[in-house]
Symmetry: D2
Subunit: 344 residues, 4 copies
């Protein structure tokens, strides 16, 4: 645990619901990390930082944070539309970057960031596909790598949220990129990761508006299904939903020539089972925060360890991974809208 080398000095940017979680992890639970700065344009978020974090330097302006020579790395938990430019700016300022997904909803933007990052090979730049760090997903990955299911050729993966009667995501629909770029992008990354990063060749998507008619004006749906074909005869099936009754049910399955693995098929909230007149039941993880609490923590620890050891390979999803996820997500959206298969 203890290390002779100096702690990685981190500035967190964006202190919304998820930003706060990241900030607390970095401040208190990541060996080798020092959360030295926080940035937000919102006064109440800065107030929270003042109270909850160990005396970070506070900035309203991202440029000021980047100018802080006492910051080694920035941790971006900002609106998606800002990610690309903020990453570029951070790299130019000589900072390592962790950025929440997605890299960008725009393919050209993604490519621009990759081109820029290529100029800073000594800097770590990682996109936060946290599922890779969930202990169960990681266990599945390791089993596959050990050959336990033979050659994996099919992934089925889903991201489904408990229905939010408040309809936050409807108001968010204009900028979310649609259900496939917002939710399925995680499943796309999981499928590529578990299948050995094959190149996608063709996709088809369809959807339904089950409950939230307000999505129609954005061409979006609250339930989406998709098939993705990869080179080498590999396949993925995706399901995304905003309308589940039982909770956040994020699970995946990978099928190989000699066996299969499921990860999280029953999204149990914990180890309790309840026996009553309705039968035997378990409650479910209410949201992705609860489900992936450990994953966020391992993700941060891995990033910090990777920077400190110089081993970029182990830090999580690369910018190139994020570009591919966006590329497939964009194709899914296009297929949903056209009703046709889209060749990549």
């Amino acid at each position: 645990m203890k290390t002779a080398i100096a702690p990685l000095r981190i500035g967190v940017v964006g202190l919304g619901r998820l930003g706060k979680r990241h900030a607390e992890n970095l401040a208190y639970r990541v060996p080798g990390a020092a959360l030295v700065a926080a940035c937000s344009p919102l006064e109440d978020e800065l107030c929270w930082a003042r109270d909850a974090l160990p005396e970070p330097r506070l900035y309203r302006d991202y440029a000021e944070l980047l100018a802080d020579a006492g910051v080694d790395a920035v941790w971006l938990v900002t609106p998606s539309s800002l990610h690309a430019q903020q990453i570029v700016d951070a790299l130019r300022a000589g900072k390592h970057v962790f950025c929440e997904k997605p890299l960008s909803l725009d393919l050209a933007e993604c490519e621009r960031v990759l081109a820029e990052a290529a100029r800073y090979p000594h800097l770590q730049a990682t996109i936060g596909f946290m599922r890779r760090f969930d202990p169960s997903y990681k266990d599945a990955f390791d089993r596959i790598a050990a050959g336990q299911i033979g050659r994996p050729f099919l992934v089925r993966s889903q991201t489904t949220d408990k229905n939010d009667t408040d309809g936050f995501f409807v108001r968010f629909a204009a900028s979310s990129g649609g259900i496939f770029l917002d939710c399925t992008v995680h499943d796309i990354d999981v499928a590529r990761w578990l299948l050995g990063k094959p190149r996608a060749t063709r996709v088809f998507a369809a959807g339904a508006v089950a409950l939230h008619d307000g999505l129609r004006e954005f061409g979006d749906v609250d339930n989406g299904v998709a098939i993705c074909e990869f080179e080498g005869g590999k396949l993925a099936m995706f399901y995304a939903s905003r309308t589940q009754a039982h909770g956040n049910d994020t699970h995946s399955e990978v099928i190989g020539t000699a066996g299969a693995l499921t990860i999280g098929r029953n999204p149990r909230a914990n180890r309790v089972e309840i026996y009553d007149a309705s039968g035997i039941r378990n409650e479910c993880t209410p949201n992705f925060f609860e489900r992936f609490e450990e994953a966020f923590l391992h993700e941060a620890r891995t990033f910090v360890a990777a920077v400190q050891s110089g081993a970029a390979a182990q830090a999580g999803a690369t910018l190139a991974d994020a570009l591919e996820a966006t590329r497939i997500g964009v194709a899914l959206r296009q297929s949903l809208q056209s009703g046709q298969a889209v060749t990549l």
Copy 2:
């Protein structure tokens, strides 16, 4: 399925709820069986037999049934207090006998029947511990016999009923023999069967009245727990309950030196799982009829096949097994009442 030999001509005695089930099985679902007669002192039961069964000869009196030369075997589903004498009478009349459990609540009566039966070795006499014929219990038995769990040394087994607010079993308490002789007797037979029929050496029991105060006057409880020691360092733990919220939850576990098996640990009603705001759940088997429907059928088929093949060994629990179950059950009741361990 088809057999050249003549069908076994059976007379069913007692047409209550369970008797009707047995009668329908024997009439329609047991190859080699012909249900030719039915006996009940109750007019409505005989009416039911006339409507639902394939033209059986009907008797109000058991002696008349026994005098029917066209009956090869009797199937006793009568009150427990009648079992012993009815078995003796049947054997003396030259009939094979299947009798629902228990053989008798009285040890001396049990022994009297065994002595009498010894005079008729060519006649089949079986007590209906149907759990031995449940496909899952049978699968567990076969796995143990094949050595899959090493040497079995501990059985945990329970018989727990959904709470009956009507309190039938309270009114029945005077003659039921108490919770251990009424319910646990099945678990005792399961434990002996799965552990290789070791001799019981000592028992201890305790109990609680959770909901049904009316039991107190009979020295009975609605929840009972017990430990049974067998020779050779084998053990059993029992639980019986009349007050479960979720259904009939009859399950068993057998632990060996190299592994363990559970049978029916989640008493699923079927293969459906329900996802809703309360989580993910399955409903449970409401009662032992539903749970052991298949077992009752296999039990009847096995009895008939055993008589026809002359292979008595395969017909289910013997009178000696039933005697042992009663002996242990009586000791448990004695322990409950005395608060002391009872040595057998």
Copy 3:
């Protein structure tokens, strides 16, 4: 159980593995049925019938069976390519018809049968989609009908077989119609049935050859995935596989606006769980015979009861249902081969 009306006299046609099962059910386990005739061109199958069935009249030739005035209904368990004409012939001979799926792999043939059947409205004609009679599928159907999951809008369903290293289905590939018409046709029927029989509007399919390269020359795959869009914004996702390691894993899920149901998600062989050094496990149903044993029985009982009561509506999948299943299956095969979505 007992009925005053005369038994339905049935002739079974085809006594292969599945035919034998049907024959035994009809002979011994279906109240109101009398298996009076059996037809097969194979001597050993007729020998089996002679030994195992209750003295049926035996025919080598289907026309002779149809000429038997003592036969009220025929039960076709013959090669798929014969189904259409055999149904027509049976109807013309005045017999009720139960026919195993599929009606035909050829749409024109399906339509020809429907046109012919329209001339015999008094005759029952049912295609054997047995899943509708599985108690768990039936329970799910009833829950949906009772509104327990709100409005159902998405079905996910799969038919996956344990890998057959013998490769029977490869040799069968020339006539099977491909994986979607052979396997997924069941899931198509399930989806239509659970979603309220909506009209399919568009499909997309993809596939992989995981293990059986011999399928390539037939344009077939051993793993197929598909999406089906229905009118009214309803959706289905299908998966079919010939290469599972753990057993026959046939399960379905239906998602509604207020909840979801899964049917058979873990294809448990029985109620036993095994605890050993590899963890805690259950074995799985090895094949569809084991999984749907009860369904085949209920299917036969329902057919017989429907004929006897004249209530055609309750006898299972109609010819029109079978036509739709074939229509969608043909479109899936076309999509697999073209790589394009197919509009219906």
Copy 4:
């Protein structure tokens, strides 16, 4: 998270396997805690502390640690036989004390510590029954408190370890106190905690030596079963084992008048399920470290928070709880040896 008050300065005593876990938690994962000192008589443990912990002051001698005025609390992870005197010494030195279970295997010793502790009401003294801090056990406790299962009256609880072929616990048998005082003591505390701390009135225990004959000379067993009666008609059943094949299987069940809860009934290692030729399985938690990793952390956080807030009530099991656990454990051992029920 952040608090204005000074951190609690802790000295850990004993750096074996479990001591190291506690030390790392206190050093890096407990807000408000500062691990300032470590004590061990073993050079290699002190070396580990030097490398792995944040510059603690190191002591070979417990008295020296107690003399360190910069230590507010001691954390005892030492051999059981030392606990009682070390707690007394700590209290006399004015330190708060956290001590791993058991308080003592000797009842008189337990009582001596309680008497002494009564003189220092301002000092926190807690025994480490960590199960109370496991999120699932805590959830069950909260549900019971909320009345979700009516009145709880029966707890079934087990502590079973994966078989250790190395036989560590056999060598440890002379000082462990036997299986009930070593393992079941946790279940005793769970039962008392979930049932509302009723007074135990009578116990009965039995056991078997399944694999480790070396235990016989100590009068110990490798599998033990027990029943405990409490006042008010409450009951507990316990099972302890050293010989499980599948892993550490620590689980509990509490049954009430309106429902029941199980906690950890399937000791899943994580959320992965494996599908292969052996069926569908999950691996199990290999040992109590893995199973209760989170519990140890919450336990430490709660202790620190309790000291800092002065709210002793929330700090976990009291010395009085520990005394009761030992009292019942001693009675169980006595019952095992005598074959008689023991009245308390």
